[in-house]
Amino acid sequence: MAKLDLNRVPMPRQIPKISGKNFNEVALGYSLEQAQEEASRCILCPRRPCVGGCPVEIDIPGFIQAIRDGDMPEAVRILKNKNALPGICGRVCPQETQCEVVCVLDKKGAPIAIGRLERFVADWERANMPSANSSPVSPRPTGKRVAVVGSGPAGLTAAADLAKLGHSVTIFEALHVAGGVLMYGIPEFRLPEEIVQAEVDYVASLGVKIELDSVVGKLMTIDELLGNGYDAVFLGTGAGLPMFMNIPGENLNGIYSANEFLTRVNLMKAYQFSEYDTPVKVGKRVAVIGGGNVAMDSARCALRLGADEVYIVYRRSEAEMSARREEVENAQEEGIQFKLLTNPKQFLGDEQNQVVGMECYEMELGEPDESGRRRPVVKAGSEFVIEVDVVVVALGTTPNPLIAQTTHGLETTRRGTVVADEEVGKTMKGKVWAGGDIVTGAATVISAMGAGKHAAADINKYLGG
């Protein structure tokens, strides 16, 4: 047996000096040789802890074995058996806290790069297998109809699983494209639109109908869907409402929610303004407030738009940031400046209502708070001003209240999330399930997919499957 290789095959990528100036994907993906070399590091241990670490229980050793064997169609089949969106997951899942952290190699060296291999298989399929060939055979129709509200990761996953079981599924999407946060939120350089579109098309190829421009709660209510022949409803509308800080000056021109900034840049393609009609303020000095993945995405977009200086302003230290380590490093390498232990007190504007500065406090870390992270405390008398002309507030999102407000019998929490069974997503209202950010508050793509999967299984059971 070959000696254990404790280092993973590096991922080819754009160099930071260049990547910070274009919207093309930064990580370039493995070649077949690189993928097989990385796959060959897997010891195919019998305990298979990685499968348990995956929220959608992909047979990870199975597809790794297929890559080693050079049987790529088999790798695709195994992957897609559990995951309708592998190209997306391979790029944006936090594997380092899920499947990879439990890899037995993690104790001795680098765990298998499961995410990179997943991405490789998905990209191989897109390049080498026309979609018709990869679609499974049509199941026998059950005659049952399910409405899925929202076409983000939770909705797409639930819809795909239900369609594979023979149910007739319609997705209702409020925006003009399907994909939800995958389309409007995550930028092109991290998750290309083409990848999302291909996986949305795959879900549609399973027989799922997608109704765009359909705002449920306005165009029709959940009760009307149930009254119009739908046997069950899955709510996957995410957490779409931006949180602001409620400090003075927050409504000045040039201050964006991350949702608005990213929607303008990604969904509406403001980075190609002149070819596309939607504008966005470019800014010379841009401050992004927050320490999560959305903050990193916003900062890196601002840089690519052409800002001279981009700051991440975060009230705790780097150790407490909720962003993936990899995303923090990407941002730093591209030249984003981190202003840590810094918290805005107020925004300063000129007579045109344009933001020109941000008065901040210096912070220090006190005792741990309920999140387990050390609580940031204001240093008295530490106020100072940062000059800025664009600010992006990336402090998180809460569920849009539209559906809860228009649906009788759907219980919500004080945080605006829908009350649903933790395991299967059943809500307090008959025939209605929910999963993803609408239940948990803002979380990850893969946890939303896991919730969609479990709800789909329970809906199938309810429908007599």
Partner: protein
């Protein structure tokens, strides 16, 4: 009419749900912007929704080029909260410019709810006046003003509004829809009389469903989203200067985009 356009759009599901005061978000094509437009009328039987808009920039100028039988990429609605309709008593409906379009169905439903409707219709000049008859047909009294005196009474809509308030007739509510500056002055006119004044705010929006917060405004000192908390608000509580400043965020970009578009479309012609 110069720069003002009326489209009847085939949108049966929107027509089925539309209520007075609501709006749609439209996008012309793949490269287009999403813009909000107030619903001016709808016909459930015919499955149509009527929108009226004025050419002010690239999107509206491009929209104006569409003709009968053409389609636009996206037409989303009905969005926003409907206007609150009940029997108040006497309601004065003040329409400025294209504001007559959204106010017409509001006046109609208020009339049907048993209110006495006094309407004031104002425009800069006679050639910018439309739907006079439509508004008259749902009003007990109609006053028309033009800034230049080319038709009706010469002057601004606030003048007859002030006279009505001072006349001693009990006015339960005023509804004012038009350019922000006109709504601001209507609200300032009614404030000393203590008559509740509802306005319909037209902030910049992207999604129109509460997702982006671009349309945020300050009402009674609290930040509100015009798209989901409105578009109707109490005019006496609105921070007008903030609204007007926020409507001007993209003035430079809009100008650049429009000049470029005009250059391109000019060279094609």
């Amino acid at each position: 009419m110069p720069g003002i356009h009326l489209f009847k759009v085939a949108a049966p599901s929107v027509a089925k749900k539309a209520r007075p005061g609501q709006f749609v978000v439209v996008r012309i094509d793949e490269t287009g912007e999403r813009i909000p437009l107030t619903i001016a009328d709808w016909d459930e039987k015919e499955g149509s929704v009527t929108i009226v808009f004025m050419e002010v920039g690239t999107t509206t100028a491009r929209l104006a080029l569409l003709g009968e039988g053409d389609s636009m990429a996206n037409f989303v609605g009905p969005l926003g909260l409907p206007t609150h309709i009940e029997r108040f008593g006497t309601v004065v409906c003040v329409a400025g410019g294209v504001g007559v379009a959204p106010i017409a169905p509001i006046a109609r439903e208020l009339k049907e709810a048993g209110n006495k409707i006094i309407s004031i219709l104002g425009a800069r000049s006679q050639n910018l006046l439309f739907w006079e008859d439509k508004l008259r047909s749902v009003s007990d009294q109609l006053i028309v003003t033009t800034d230049d005196g080319s038709y009706g009474r010469k002057g601004l809509v606030t003048e007859p509004l002030k006279e009505l308030l001072a006349s001693g007739e009990k006015i339960a509510q005023v509804v004012a829809i038009g350019p922000s500056i006109m709504m601001k002055f209507c609200a300032e006119t009614t404030q000393p009389f203590g008559v509740k004044t509802m306005v319909s705010l037209n902030s910049i929006m992207v999604d129109g469903t509460g997702m982006c917060g671009c349309c945020r405004i300050s009402v009674g000192g609290l930040t509100k989203f015009a798209c989901v908390d409105g578009p109707d608000f109490d005019g006496h509580q609105v921070d007008w200067d903030l609204l007007i400043a926020r409507q001007r965020i993209y003035l430079d970009e809009e100008k650049r985009s429009f000049e470029q578009w005009r250059g391109q479309s000019g060279s094609c012609a």
